[in-house]
């Protein structure tokens, strides 16, 4: 079990030592980690949850690692998304020999590109190789990218396996630091600003979380979740500590109205980083929430907090969707969509508090898994499309399939998942959460779930309709490299398959 953490850490170290082969090392590491995850998932599916005491010390002295259904599912999600994103990133950055990415689509296309609309691109024309804008060429691999990239995976895997409050804090902190470092690797002003904002917000959130768990530890003397569940009792300290912990996690999860740091961070970031952050990094704090809220906190959370969470969730769904509807750029649209989708997760959480035996928690977890696959696929596909157009202005992305057929397909499939339409995993998640809302007699939550799907359709079809518009003859389009398209496509296909093969996944959930 510890291999899921040790492998990426070792890979990170190795990629520092052998920097020339870092991309290959990363790919190998991620593959091996995924194999470990799969073996662990198989063992859990067959034999139930597995516990491991690090160093053989039992709690409260030692650290307990627990691989149960949700843990292995999130491990698998991380493994799969990482595999696709790593393969993608390996091609995304410039190759050592400086080969140019992309070839023009059709011989005659670039003749028409020399027009008033693209005079800038005509300036640098040299010989047979057409000049392409900066976004169309591969950026250099930022210094230290691969070690940090693998470090993030180690932090995630550690978070999913731990069963101890302080370890959760440490893993969350490492996750944040790695995430900030990756965002900062854009080398431009917007990226640096976004990274600093991300860092400050996440640090404040961490402080809240740390303060909360410190109070709990001072009061009850345990950090292990199982032990805390037995020891915890209502009281003044608990009444302060729990809101602090929840607030810290909510900010890290970018719940409305604490979402302001997320869209700029994603909008400015390199595409593979976007995919990993949106699909996995925000699932970290969510995972902590599903460990704590239906777990040790369940008995002591005042109902008002559940209602508050539900209200914020609805606010997030509506606000995130409305903002996504206004975004002129593809990456920002997808980023705001995350704000809306996080709303679903919180809605599920609030319903799970109201009715712990209902399907809400299963729905929330399933939705999180489906969202992880679909959102990563969408960012990767967007990256391929951006590479072929050289920009991400939605209005000008006409007939994107011309430059990247598979990526456009991936975008459409992922969109079905984010809207929560069948046969995608998003539909199953939406159905379960909706079922929970109906069972709990919460018409507002039901309307939020169903209406959220409609809103998602509204903003996503702004992009999808472009696939049916006649292509703009003046736009120079290069073909996106296949290595950028396939990872997006395969992830998108997985996000749809999750909807028709949901039985084994749901079988692993409580």
């Amino acid at each position: 079990m510890t291999w899921a953490v040790i492998l990426p850490l070792a890979g990170a170290l190795l990629s520092v030592l052998l920097a020339r082969h870092a991309a290959r090392i990363a790919l190998g590491t991620v593959l091996a980690t995924l194999a470990v995850d799969a073996a662990l998932a198989r063992a859990v599916a067959l034999g139930g949850p597995i516990e491991h005491q690090v160093g053989g010390w039992p709690p409260p002295l030692g650290i307990r690692l627990v691989a149960d259904g949700p843990a292995v599912l999130f491990l698998l999600l991380a493994g799969v998304v990482y595999l696709a994103s790593t393969a993608y990133a390996a091609r995304f950055f410039d190759r050592p020999n400086g080969a140019r990415s992309g070839s023009p689509v059709g011989p005659g296309r670039f003749e028409s590109a020399v027009g008033p609309a693209s005079s800038a691109s005509a300036v640098g024309r040299a010989g047979a190789i057409p000049h392409v804008p900066a976004t169309r060429t591969s950026p250099r691999t930022p210094a230290g990218f691969w070690p940090v990239w693998l470090f993030l995976l180690a932090a995630l895997d550690g978070l999913f396996l731990t069963s101890d409050l302080f370890n959760m804090y440490v893993a969350l902190e490492l996750l944040t630091l790695a995430g900030v470092a990756l965002v900062a690797m854009t080398h431009d002003r917007a990226g640096t600003q976004a990274a600093i904002r991300y860092l400050l917000v996440a640090m404040v959130a961490s402080l809240f979380f740390l303060l909360g768990i410190s109070l709990l530890y001072a009061e009850f003397g345990v950090l292990d979740l199982e032990g805390l569940g037995e020891a915890i009792a209502p009281g003044r300290i608990t009444a302060v500590a729990i809101p602090l912990v929840l607030l810290g996690l909510a900010v890290k999860l970018a719940i409305f109205p604490f979402h302001f740091w997320l869209p700029p961070a994603y909008g400015a970031t390199l595409t593979p980083v976007c995919a990993v952050l949106s699909a996995l990094a925000i699932k970290g704090p969510f995972f902590v929430l599903i460990r704590l809220v239906p777990g040790p906190f369940a008995a002591v959370i005042p109902p008002a907090i559940g209602t508050l969470i539900g209200g914020l969730a609805l606010g997030g769904i509506v606000w995130g969707s409305l903002r996504a509807l206004q975004q002129p750029r593809l990456k920002l649209l997808i980023a705001y969509s995350s704000v809306a989708q996080v709303g679903y997760l919180f809605l599920a959480l609030s319903l799970a508090l109201a009715d712990p035996t209902g399907p809400a928690l299963r729905g929330g977890i399933f939705f999180a898994l489906s969202h992880g696959l679909a959102k990563a696929a969408m960012f990767l596909a967007a990256g391929a499309i951006i590479r072929s157009f050289g920009h991400d202005r939605i209005a000008d992305l006409r007939a994107p399939q011309r430059g990247s057929h598979l990526a456009t397909t991936a975008l459409a499939l992922a969109a079905v998942g984010l809207m929560g339409f069948p046969a995608s995993g998003g539909f199953i998640g939406k159905w379960l959460i909706g079922e929970a809302a109906a069972l709990a007699g919460r018409p507002l939550a039901l309307a939020g779930i169903v209406g959220g799907g409609l809103l998602a359709a509204l903003y996503l079809f702004r992009v999808l309709r472009q696939a049916f518009v006649a292509p703009d003859p003046a736009a120079g389009v290069v073909r996106a490299p296949a290595a950028l398209e396939w990872p997006a496509f395969l992830l998108a296909v997985l996000s749809v398959l999750l909807g028709v093969a949901s039985a084994p996944v749901l079988g692993l959930l409580p």
């Binding site: 399907p359 069948p422 046969a423 199953i428 909706g434 109906a438 039901l446 409609l454 079809f461 006649a470």
Partner: protein, 514 residues
């Protein structure tokens, strides 16, 4: 999984798998695409026919795919689903032939045929759905997968129509989903059962049940184009003719009407409808739709728009027949589900032939066109008369049965509605027929434009020769048109034959075999 248990799933896959392969084919692979399409369509018709034969022999066909607690994909062939599946798969076969001819040489054909197949697969899923979860599942797939077909041409007008279509259809899906989740919260997972699936304790819920019923009716009603949820249908006629055929006959509106039948007979049940006090609502909506659609059709100047409003009106015969809760009326409604499909697909094929061969879209360009395209216009005439209810075309049979059923159910006003509607139908179809056969031929639109000195290209599909004789249009367009017209005529002439739609509708209501 045994052979019988896998048949419904195989029927669904018989169009889905070729469709997925077609997506991957290059644009120039015309032969492979056609082979995949026709193989899928043939296998599908064969499988549904096999299932129909088996049902008569008392076999059962049920596929169950569990997706999680309370979520089960249940595909089950019963008499009602086979009626719809058979209609849909036969018309898919015919309209695929037509679409191959129609779209010859136009761009994005792989995308078109891919989504066409997905739509038909979703329709079969709707037909075979054995519980509400499965129904919603495929209903939503259908809602999404038709969008690419509506906007296929990619013009500004097509995209605008697509937006309207999406707004209506996604709204319908959302309302349906809400209603179903709410209902299942009260009643648990609902599996369709003839006579009603809801236990008496749930039906006592009163007002809440009525609201749920209205939500479900609204959800289905968007696809079934009942007033005031019909606005998308006339707008969507901008799409190519094979898409109109799909919307009006093969899949979409039929799925809505079929859903209403399921809702009334297999979810709430006639007694349940009366118990929750919903009885007068559906007949009233259906009547209003029948009349309003026809009245709107009177003032149309474009042929396809006229046909679209005619669908709005005609489709509510199905709703009316179902909602009267009497067996004979329901038989009439179900038979009309098939009859209307056969007649309407013919009319849209004819409109497509006119548009592709002669460039005719407006009614006032149709003067004397019967002389240029006698075969097409004969098919048109047969089905237009059938829509009015002239014997012996199929439309007469279903309307007659409906009227008898109305009297039987103690609702004699139905006869008045039918007569009024027939008069209105005559009011908009007969002037067209008069133009076609009795007016002197007018110059074609492109000839007229040329005479004005504009540089226009004649329509794409020219006259073709078969056995050395010139025929009026491509045989790929003419053959499907004549086939469905003959089927519509046959369904009326041989209404009491063993496999006619009317006979099958009787099986559905009788339950079990013949």
């Amino acid at each position: 999984m045994s052979w019988n248990a896998s048949l419904p799933a195989l029927t669904l896959l018989s169009s889905l798998v070729p469709g997925l392969f077609i997506f991957g084919l290059g644009e120039e692979r015309r032969g492979a695409r056609t082979a995949l399409n026709m193989a899928g369509a043939t296998v599908k018709v064969g499988l549904v026919a096999w299932i129909a034969r088996g049902l008569l022999g008392g076999e059962t066909y049920t596929t169950r795919i569990p997706l999680g607690a309370g979520m089960e994909l249940l595909l089950r062939a019963d008499n009602l689903s086979v009626l719809f599946a058979l209609l849909s798969s036969i018309l898919w076969f015919v309209s695929t032939v037509y679409a191959i001819g129609y779209l010859e040489g136009s761009p994005n054909r792989s995308r078109f045929f891919g989504f066409y197949s997905v739509c038909v697969s979703a329709t079969v899923g709707v037909a075979f759905a054995g519980n509400l979860f499965t129904f919603v599942f495929f209903y939503e797939v259908l809602a999404l997968s038709t969008y690419p077909l509506v906007v296929h041409r990619g013009t500004r007008a097509a995209l605008r129509a697509g937006r309207t279509y999406l707004a209506y259809t996604l709204f319908g899906s959302a309302v349906l989903l809400t209603g179903v989740l709410w209902l299942q919260a009260l009643a648990g997972p609902v599996e369709f059962r003839p006579g009603g699936a809801l236990p008496a304790a749930v039906l006592d819920g009163g007002g809440e049940l009525l609201v749920i019923f209205l939500l479900l009716v609204a959800g289905m009603g968007v696809k079934a184009a009942i007033v005031p949820l019909h606005g998308w249908l006339p707008v969507a006629m901008i799409a190519p003719a094979p898409v109109s055929a799909l919307l009006h006959a093969v899949a979409v509106v039929k799925a809505g009407a079929f859903g209403l039948v399921r809702l009334v007979h297999d979810v709430f049940g006639p007694s349940g409808i009366i118990e929750i006090g919903a009885f007068p609502i559906l007949p009233a909506i259906a009547t209003a739709t029948i009349l309003w659609g026809s009245i709107r059709a009177l003032s149309q100047t474009r042929l396809k728009r006229l046909l679209a409003y005619s669908t709005v009106s005609q489709l509510s015969y199905v709703a009316l027949g179902t909602s009267l809760l009497g067996p004979t009326a329901a038989i009439g409604g179900l038979a009309h589900l098939v009859h209307q499909g056969l007649m309407k697909i013919t009319l849209f094929f004819c409109a497509g032939n006119l548009a592709e061969t002669l460039g005719i879209h407006d009614l006032d360009e149709m003067d004397g066109v019967g002389r240029r395209m006698p075969w097409t216009m004969t098919a048109f005439t047969v089905c237009a008369l059938g829509m009015i209810g002239v014997p012996p075309v199929a439309g007469f049979v279903s309307k007659w049965t409906l009227a008898v059923g109305g009297i039987e159910a103690g609702q004699p006003w139905v006869v008045a509605v039918l007569v009024a509607s027939a008069l209105l139908n005559a009011g908009y179809f007969l002037p067209v027929l008069h133009r076609v056969w009795f007016r002197p031929p007018a110059p074609l639109p492109y000839e007229r434009d040329r005479a004005r000195g504009e540089d226009v290209v004649p329509p794409a599909v020219g006259h073709r020769s078969v056995f050395g004789r010139r025929i009026e249009t491509s045989w790929l367009l003419l053959l499907p048109t004549l086939t469905t017209a003959i089927l519509a005529l046959g369904a009326g002439l041989f209404a009491n034959a063993p496999f006619s739609p009317l006979t099958w509708a009787r099986f559905v209501l009788a339950g079990g075999g013949p």
